[in-house]
Each structure stands twice: as C-alpha cells, then as structure tokens.
Amino acid sequence: MSAITATPTFTRSIPSNIGRQTWFARSVRAEWIKFWTVRSTVWTLVATVVVMVGISVLAAWGSTVEAVDPGSSMNTAQLLSAGYQVAQLVVAVLGVLTITGEYSTGMIRSTFAAVPRRVNVLAAKVLVLSAVVLAVSVVSMALSYVATLPWQDELGAKLDLTDPETLRMTVGLPLYLMAIALFAFALGALLRHSAAALTAVIAMLLVVENVLMIIPLRAIELISPFLPSTAGRRVLFDTEMLTATDAVTAGTGLAPWVGFGVLMVWVLALGAVAAVLLRRRDA
C-alpha cells in the first residue's frame, strides 16, 4: 500500500452544482455512470446484438434453402425479429442484474445513502435501462437488415414502413424487448436476489407461459392470453401468425397493441409493488 501523504485538505465549498440540476437528473446521471462501468452490462448488450443479428441471418438463409412457396413474398420485419425469443432472455438478465447486482454486492446501501428518495433511484434506473434496451434493439434491427440483404431479393422480402402492420412489427420489437427488460427489472427489485429473480423471470418466459398455453382447462385458457410475454409478443406477429396462434389456443385473441398494453400493465403493477416495498424495507 502506498504511503498516505497528504494531510487532508478540505474546502468547505467543493465544486458542486446541487441547486442547478434536479434530484432526478442527478440520479439519472449517476445511474448512467453505474450502468456503463460494470462489465456484465456491456457483455449482455453485445450478446443481444449478436443473438439478434445471428438469428436473423440464420432465418434468412434457412428460408431460402427450404423456400416453400416461391411466389409468396415475406415480410422483412419478421426476419428482423426472428431472434426475439433468445434476445428477450438476454435483456431479461440485463434487467435483473441492473438492480440485484447492487443488492448482492451491498452497493445498494451506498446508493440509498446518497439518494434517500429511493423511488428516484428506481425511476432513474428504469429510464437508463429503457433507453439502452431501445437503442440496442434498434441498432440490432438495422444490423440485421444489412446482414440479411443478400437473401432478401430471393425471399421477395421488403421492408415497407408505410404498411401499418410492418410498421407495428418494426416498432414493436424494441418496445417488446424494453418491456421484458423492465418486467425482469421489477421482479429483481421485488426479490432483491440475482438467482431468485433470474429463475423467476426465465421460468415465467420459457416454462410457465408455454406450459399453461397447452393445458386444456377452461380457467387456464382464460388466463393464458393475459400472461406477460404471451400478450406482449403479439405486436411482433403478422396477421398470418396471429391467426395461427389463435387457432391453437382457445382463449381470447388480443389485438396486437392491446396485448402489448397488457404486458405494460404487468410491468407497472410489479413496479408499483416494488416501489412501495422499496420505501418500506430496510436496505
């Protein structure tokens, strides 16, 4: 350990712009720094891009190999969102770790000592996480578009954003991934434990929803369409896919944006419970 030389010097007025920025702006700034100074977040973002682009390319290539109907045209938006099932798991991990990483390391105590208005911290984290996931999804889609160009002609695929359905699918993907990241974040804030929250989120996305969907009980058939991912992912489906999905399930066929709205209600409800508990519980 190096020698401690200086007698500490204190200037009573240290440079600070406390008055000029709001609490929230400063919290966001702090959360932004925290977000980018941990390696795991950078790696999960890289993984999101790789997964999204990689699966899009595989889907494009696979479709040309076994092109069923040469005459039909394919919607490129569907190609771009081909990797959503894997990508949602990656952003879910990111969402969970954003908050549980602080609990597992004890960082949360430093955070709340600096910002006693804990809901501010939660809101700042939500903003940073949402912005980053949206940005990374858009970048991934752009890269997927470029990467699948060699196959697009052959597939008759085109990206026509004036078509309402294409626009909805294109805009829907970043929003869907953001919502899943926030859903995972809210569960992380509730459970405060990385392993528990990751298990809960992944079990929900991969197991619970898919299993419930195939149980032929009336009660479950009524609930199933309203589960977070089942409802939310409908913004990613084209009409053909929506019809096919509704054909195998007996429940309500939610309109795509209504489905996404249901997912957001889940996010808000969990987030509200997390915020209330956050204020009440000892850090």
Binding site: M1, S2, A3, I4, T5, A6, T7, P8, T9, F10, T11, R12, I14, P15, S16, N17, I18, R20, Q21, R26, S27, R29, A30, E31, I33, K34, T37, V38, R39, S40, G101, E102, T105, G106, M107, I108, R109, S110, F112, A113, A114, V115, P116, R117, R280, D282, A283
Partner: protein, 319 residues
C-alpha cells in the same frame, strides 16, 4: 450533531436497539463502543436512513437524514466497507456517487489522493483487500466534505500505518468542528482516538461520558507498588482506607488510590518505592465492567475478569 431519542429497532422478538437516546456533539471524536451484537451498526444504519426505526427518532443536524436536500454534504458514512459493486473500479464508484450530488470529478481525484488509493483507483473493487475497501469507504464518506462523519469500524483490516492515519484524520476532522462518530469494539483504539464515549450493550446505552470519566468510573483499577518496606507501606495505605493485597513479598497491589496519591503518601512517610505502576488498560477494565452482563455471545470462560491487554472474551458475528 447527531441526536437520537428513544431509538428502537426490533427484528421480530429480538430487540437490536432498545430506546437509545444520546447526542453526538460537534468538535469531538465520539466513540461508539460495545461488544459485537450490541446494536452499533444497526444504530448507524438508522442514522443514515437505511433502516427505519421501530420506534423513536434520529436526526442529523436537526433533520432526519432523508429530509436533507444534499445528504452527502451533511453526513459522510462508512457503514460497510463492502457497500460497493465489486465489478466497478474505485474511481468509477466514486464518480457515480459524486454524480448524485453534482460533485465535480476534481473532488473525486482529491479524495482518491487523500485516502492513498491513487495506485489502485482504476482497479476493480472485487480484488481489493479489506484495508483498501476501508480506504474506499472513507473516500466515499469524505466525498461531500460533510459536517458529520459516521464511521463504522473504520480501522478494521487496516495496517498499522492506516490505523494511525484514521486516528489522525478523525482527530483533525473533529478539530475543524465537525461531528465525528466512530464505532469500534476495540477499546485500545478508542482510548487513543476518542474524546467522548458512548458505551452500549444489548442495544442500550451503558455510559455516555468523556473518556476520562468512563475510566475514572471503573472500579478495581489497580496500582502495583514495589517497595523494600512494603509492610510499612501496606499499613499506611490500609489506614487511609485503600484496598491492598500482596501477591509476593515486597509487592503490593493497591485499589482505590491513584499512582500519584500512593507516590505522594509514600514520599510523605519517607518510604522508598522501587516500582509504581498503574496496571492494565483502564478503559478496557471499565469497558469490561460496563458490558460484563450485556455481551450477547459469551465464550466459554477464557479468563475474562482481568483481561489485561487481551481481547475481550466476546465472540460472534457482528450485526
């Protein structure tokens, strides 16, 4: 200034902090002394609003911690050396903390220098030793240049040089008129650092007084006297009401008199002295007496009563 009024924290049926009322004054180093499990850390967490009291109230500079507009400028706290994300570098941790209060990067560099972290500031905290973690905790506490400092076991894990540094730093901060509240279970450290002591056991305040008063209040502090005329001296001291025992010929152990009083009496009676020693760390005796009935975890009898210079026989995890 920190004020607690009837501060209480219960976890289920366990009472960690039991109606504690005390005031920590500015301009002094106040030691918060007690065995593990006495409620020191819980109290400190309640001061900075991390844990909410079951009952009672605690204020810092007249307000609840959470009511301060810029808490880091009011109170700097080292609560837990590990309250840092292990994947982040020390400097980035401090930058993020600084950002919450709009504190300039220049100040981050200052506290890094001040705490001797310059060479490791860009390494990730996960690889830090306990001592480096403590230095980072102290750096965070100093970041906002606060009027009040709360340091929970700050010398824990520090090397001798670091211990000395913390001692000088806390005294220096208090000399500037700041409030310094320092917890420890090491009375030897407190004897050297603190001006005032709040001794706690099982969540209750056992003593709240200047260090010298706490020591004076201890019974059984002994003075060892060696004299070729021990018998005459014993006679003299007994007549004056002091307690005297003799372990061996020519050696007396005197209670109820200070070394000065005994020396003066001996000189007045023209009795030669070959040794005159106050036995043991008196603060330690005082502390052990105060907390004798209050320790939560008694170890199975390893020579407690006159633990001179030895660790008190108190075991168990803190918190």
């Amino acid at each position: 200034m920190i004020e607690t009024h009837g501060l209480t924290k219960r976890y289920g049926s366990t009472t960690a902090v039991d109606h504690m009322s005390f005031t920590v004054q500015p301009g002094l180093v106040t030691g918060f002394l007690g065995p593990n499990g006495a409620g020191k850390s819980t109290t400190m967490r309640m001061i900075v609003g991390l844990d909410s009291p079951t009952d009672g109230k605690v204020t810092v500079n007249g307000r609840r911690y959470s009511e301060h507009r810029a808490p880091l400028h009011e109170v700097g706290a080292l609560l837990d050396a590990k309250a840092v994300h292990t994947g982040r570098t020390a400097r980035n941790h401090l930058r993020a903390m600084a950002a919450t209060h709009g504190i300039a990067t220049k100040r981050v560099d200052e506290v890094v220098e001040m705490t001797g972290l310059a060479t490791v500031a860009d390494k990730r905290v996960g690889g830090f030793s306990l001592g480096m973690g403590q230095r980072l905790g102290i750096a965070s506490a100093l970041l906002g240049d606060p009027q009040t400092l709360i340091l929970d076991e700050p010398v824990n894990g520090l090397d001798p040089e670091g211990v000395l540094w913390v001692r000088n730093l806390t005294k220096y901060l208090a000399s500037q008129g700041r409030t310094v509240f320092l917890s420890s279970h090491l009375m030897s450290e407190m004897a050297l650092t603190a001006d005032h002591l709040i001794v706690v056991g099982r969540g209750r305040v056992l003593a709240d007084a200047p260090v010298s008063d706490v020591i004076a209040g201890a019974h059984g502090s002994k003075v060892r006297v060696r004299s070729p005329r021990a018998d005459d001296l014993e006679e003299l001291l007994r007549r004056s009401g002091a307690g005297v025992t003799s372990a061996e010929a020519g050696l007396l152990e005197v209670t109820g008199r200070t070394a000065e009083q005994i020396g003066d009496s001996a000189a007045a009676a023209r009795l030669p002295l070959h040794e005159l020693t106050t036995v043991g760390s008196s603060l330690e005796d005082a502390y052990l007496q105060l907390t004798a009935d209050e320790v939560e975890y008694h170890s199975t009898q390893v020579g407690i009563p006159t633990a001179t210079g030895a660790e008190p026989a108190i075991q168990g995890a803190s918190r």
